[in-house]
Subunit: 112 residues, 2 copies
């Protein structure tokens, strides 16, 4: 996964309403939920929700398809797993690597 995609997905999730929507879709399971159901769950104005759903879609985190009058949305679990993979590989050190050196202030005259 490229850094750009990672930033895009992080940005998509870095907004309270969008994170709520995504969590709701994850809870909804693979069957997903309609825009109307989501709107009730998160209590947002239609235009506002539409705006945020588009952002989630653009980031690849949500899939939509029309189903009669409704539009069904589903979380793209794979995109999420990719993001978690990126963070784990690029932004973690080992796992539970405790800081050994402790805090600053002790190193003096060391390491120019």
């Amino acid at each position: 996964m490229e850094m750009n995609s990672a930033v895009a997905r992080l940005a998509a999730l870095a907004q309270p309403l969008r994170l709520s929507v995504f969590r709701y879709l994850v809870e909804a399971g693979p069957g997903g939920a309609s825009v109307g159901e989501i709107r009730e769950a998160v209590a947002a104005a239609p235009a506002t929700l539409s705006f945020h759903l588009k952002e989630l879609q653009a980031a690849g985190l949500v899939d939509t398809c029309r189903e009669g009058r409704r539009i069904r949305c589903r979380a793209r679990y794979q995109a999420m797993n990719e993001l978690i993979g990126y963070l784990t590989e690029n932004c973690c050190r080992g796992e539970g690597a405790a800081a050994p050196g402790g805090e600053c202030a002790i190193t003096e005259g060391e390491a120019s």
Copy 2:
């Protein structure tokens, strides 16, 4: 971890320069790096870097402490692990669950 903290950390990482800085600090290891070292690595104007470091700090992803004239920065691995934990618990569903029975006519990549 609360949703608010998760959003704050996601937002902190959802910016190319900040993500680069954080990745650099992770690579630097528990010893961290000075602001000047970071600045060279990411090629940012001093004021710009200072702004973004403050954001990372505010989100709890970076720790700083003065060391003589320099300021040493370290990645807070624990904060990252918490974030990954939050995403894993709240935003994932099992593994590659592609259960059909869906209503949409569109079949997902899963050919049976």
